[in-house]
Symmetry: C2
Subunit: 189 residues, 2 copies
């Protein structure tokens, strides 16, 4: 039996990422974002949704660029801090003990300590409501050698353990067991 919960922005699980930008004084900022998803394969694009009140919002419009750094289980505290504090008031990289590295591809910094980085150029801006969606074209991905398998792919659930987020419940989770191969297990039906 299903119960109505009303009109809410809930998706389970939700990815959780850290968006890196420079402000107009060249200071690196990092902000945790859960309203994120791939939006296109060709060109490869990712969408992130931000409130106008965030420091990152203005930074992206100034620089036409951002990075997406994917954190792992061991950085859950840093991820949470980067979602609470504002880069307008604090040097968030420094307080979190994280290192801002300037991308050699786009005009934005990424988090050195996080193993998987998307380097994005601003592609399109869509006004929706409280949130504005910034679509970034993914110009390059950088990954730590240490999380890649022998084929050069992320060793998901092994050496690469990204975080999940549950909105409303407001909890972070890790990944669980591999359950099946896509474009494969469904053929049994």
């Amino acid at each position: 039996m299903k119960r109505s919960l009303g009109a809410k922005s809930l998706l389970y699980p939700t990815p959780i990422v850290v968006v890196g930008t420079y402000d107009n004084e060249g200071r690196a900022n990092a902000m945790t974002v859960a309203w994120v998803g791939i939006v296109c394969s060709q060109p490869p694009c990712i969408g992130i949704s931000l409130r106008k009140a965030t420091h990152t919002y203005g930074n992206i419009l100034d620089r036409d660029a951002f990075t997406v750094s994917i954190p792992t289980e061991k950085h859950v505290k840093e991820v949470d801090y980067l979602g609470i504090a504002s880069g307008r008031k604090e040097d968030k990289f420094s307080i979190a003990g994280l290192t801002a590295i300037r991308s050699d591809i786009v005009d934005a910094p990424y988090v050195k300590e996080f193993p998987f980085i998307l380097e994005c150029e601003l592609f399109q801006v869509t006004e929706i409501g409280l949130h504005t969606q910034f679509i970034g074209e993914i110009k390059n991905i950088k990954a730590d050698e240490s999380i890649l398998d022998e084929k050069g792919l992320p060793d998901m659930g092994g050496r690469f353990r990204p975080l999940l987020y549950a909105p409303e419940i407001k909890k972070y989770y890790g990944m669980g067991a591999m359950l099946g191969n896509a474009f494969s297990v469904g053929k049994e039906i």
Copy 2:
């Protein structure tokens, strides 16, 4: 040390959902979608990106509505099948052994066997490239009583075990352990 992997549409983990629509003959269709994410809190909106070649693409434009049904670990085969087959050629609900229920809120069907449903009205369409993003306003959420905790929230990782997807690697995963409370653990920094 980071290695460049090139320009690819990769986000880890990626949610995986099933989009329900009616076609112009009133037949229910269900399609698995990984290019999905919440895009706005007010109004609550979700974005799904589809290729024009999909049956679902035309259905949404015809009906101005879709549902998002969130599957769980026990339906990994059905989810994979719904991503391989086309509703133009097959009655996917019937072949997968799933039940299409007409939403009482929007002009679209959802998957009865999946425990968490977003009922969406088409809000905005954004052309990007190979994929078009359909932004749906979430008019209501329906959830199985059996996955809710005593507060009426989804019992994530307990009775509610949604799937994850890893693009490129093409594998499905389950959820892991709870790692911390959001807007809380970061205050220790």
